[in-house]
């Protein structure tokens, strides 16, 4: 049982997290930078403040002794982590809801080529760099995986500014980014499974069974289930039922040994195909965007401070690792997506434009690193290094991509 005092201290923390993420997020939005980066930085800053100021000291103002709640301890509490973990589920659920299977089927050949090339090359380069730098096989796989999924937000905005969104390049990038997210999620499932059981075949079977039962059969019965759900005519009861489906799917996916986040994504796809999703999509977004998702990004920044102390002597090693991984992420996408685009019949310049547009990484990279840490695949010093690298990866790739895109389009005119 959680005591009342603890409870309200954690709620205080949630309040602080919500306020800071939104303020910094807005600031970054005004600076035309990704909101998510602002929210992560909110976590980093508050983490620092909590470690150095609010870690159990007493403050004396005149004659009053003030004992603020021990923030750094609270930030690591399971209760706070729970909110962040639910945030991940909401992120994937919303992604699933907005992924239209029919649109996906119509995606051009070029997008699939670009997506596949853009997954293979960074995965390979990341994996090899990990091995060469002395990480274990599974750690290296995770490092490779973090580099696979493109976040298209930054690119779309840049292409809009340049008024080239309606070109083949724009369409290919958009399609490619959606597909490589899905490939990334599926690969993550494999990787997380391999971490706990060595038997890759068995995991393959389990994934196949899960998809068969929960997606294929789900698509057949979901309409009936939602129809019955709709009959419960209480305020927002339909929303409760969709949320229950989301959580049940995550539970069963986790039971099947294939990570709960896949369950959330599949549940999203399933419900998103149904006409009735129209009614709840705004409510789901209200809960996700308004509450749980900012807390997730906040906690990513925060968790930089909760890992073990880093020795200064290893600093140069970490710096080298960061530089190598970020370079690999950029080279991997340019080469991989470039080859993919070229194979699908685009010109050299178009291939370059597409591949540059695929560089940014954001949400899924952060989700993958968090999942790897919470599944115990990345631990201790390694976890800390990879997390730091991923955060810097998201920031740097989002900052440089607009310049690179503008440069490649300048040659066009």
């Amino acid at each position: 049982m959680i005591s009342t005092e603890e409870l309200f201290n954690i709620l205080l923390l949630v309040a602080i997290a919500l306020l800071f993420t939104r303020i910094l997020g807005f600031l970054f939005h005004k600076l035309k930078q990704p909101v998510v980066i602002g929210e992560i930085i909110a976590g980093i800053v508050l983490g620092a403040v909590s470690v150095y100021v609010f870690s159990g000291q007493k403050f004396i103002f005149f004659n009053y002794i003030v004992t603020p709640p021990n923030l750094s301890e609270l930030f690591q509490s399971p209760e706070f982590t729970l909110f962040a973990e639910i945030g991940i589920l909401f992120l994937l659920f919303i992604s699933g809801l907005e992924t239209s299977l029919s649109k996906l089927k119509k995606t051009e050949k070029a997008s699939s080529f670009v997506a596949v090339g853009g997954v293979i090359m960074p995965l390979l380069l990341g994996f090899l760099s990990g091995i060469i730098l002395g990480f274990s096989v599974i750690e290296s796989v995770m490092i490779g995986l973090i580099l696979t999924a493109t976040s298209v937000g930054v690119t779309v905005r840049t292409l809009m500014d340049l008024h080239v969104l309606n070109t083949d390049v724009g369409a290919t990038i958009l399609g490619g980014a959606v597909i490589d997210d899905i490939i990334g999620i599926i690969l993550l499932t494999f990787a997380l499974g391999i971490g706990s059981l060595i038997d890759a075949v068995w995991i393959g079977v389990k994934i196949a069974i899960f998809f068969l039962v929960f997606l294929y059969l789900g698509l057949k019965v979901i309409d009936k289930v939602l129809f019955i759900g709709e009959k419960i005519n209480l305020p927002k009861s339909f929303l409760s039922i969709t949320l229950a489906i989301l959580l049940l799917y995550s539970f069963f996916a986790d039971e099947a040994g294939i990570s709960g986040i896949i369950g959330a994504f599949v549940a999203g796809i399933l419900i998103g195909q149904n006409v009735r999703s129209k009614k709840i999509i705004d409510d789901i977004k209200a809960i996700g965007y308004g509450f749980f998702i900012p807390i997730f990004f906040f906690s990513v920044g925060l968790s930089l401070w909760t890992s073990e102390n880093v020795e200064i002597s290893s600093f140069s090693n970490i710096l080298i690792f960061i530089i190598i991984i970020i370079s690999m992420s950029i080279i991997g996408k340019i080469v991989g997506c470039g080859i993919g685009a070229k194979l699908s019949g685009m010109s050299n310049l178009e291939s370059l434009q597409v591949s540059v547009g695929m560089i940014p990484r954001m949400e899924l990279a952060l989700i993958i690193v968090t999942a790897a840490i919470s599944h115990g695949i990345l631990t201790g010093q390694v976890a800390h290094t990879v997390l730091l690298t991923t955060i810097l990866l998201t920031i740097i790739t989002s900052l440089i991509t607009p310049f690179l895109i503008k440069a490649t389009f300048k040659n066009d005119k």
């Binding site: 997020g25 939005h29 907005e98 239209s100 298209v152 809009m160 969104l165 709709e230 006409v275």
Partner: protein, 167 residues
């Protein structure tokens, strides 16, 4: 008062095909791959368009309302806080070219033999003002809130609810 109750319950129990607009030839229909400018020209006169796969089969695939056009007509503000497939349809950026690009493809429909009360409940639940009447995936008419209001009002004025003029 008793008369009112009798009237409204009679009204509820009517079937959709008794009140719907059956003049399919007069419905605002457009084929999925037609140009966006054609959509705009129809919407100048009507406030919604049913999108069909082709003119012959009249298989309903979507609907375009004024609100859908608002979202492509207004400048796009694209926050980076979007997950999943981003919605990039916009007239300004040339990414909304055909009727199919703009339409909402999840459509709430009703059947000709459904009761009016059920149709009304659908309108309430999904915040709609019009429902297409569908038989074997084909649009056979439409039921609008405006029609229902007119029919109900005229029934209170000692006219029979169903007049066959429009049917």
């Amino acid at each position: 008062m008793a008369k009112q109750i009798k009237l409204i319950s009679d009204f509820y129990n009517l079937e959709v095909n008794q009140l719907m607009d059956k003049r399919v030839w007069d419905l605002p229909l457009i084929v999925e791959n037609e140009d966006i400018l054609h959509v705009l020209s129809i919407l100048g006169a009507r406030n919604h368009i049913w999108v069909v796969k082709d003119k012959e089969s009249k298989e309903l695939v979507g609907v375009i309302t004024e609100h859908d056009v608002l979202s492509i007509l207004a400048p796009k503000h694209f926050p980076t806080y979007v997950f999943g497939m981003p919605d990039i349809r916009s007239i300004q950026h040339g990414t909304a070219k055909t009727a199919g690009d703009v339409m909402a493809n999840k459509i709430i429909t009703c059947n000709p033999d459904e009761k009016i009360i059920d149709a009304l409940m659908k309108m309430v639940k999904y915040k709609l003002r019009r429902l297409p009447v569908i038989k074997d995936n084909t649009i056979v008419g439409e039921l609008t809130l405006n029609q229902l209001i007119r029919k109900y009002y005229s029934a209170t004025q000692y006219h029979p609810i169903i007049d066959d003029k429009e049917g």
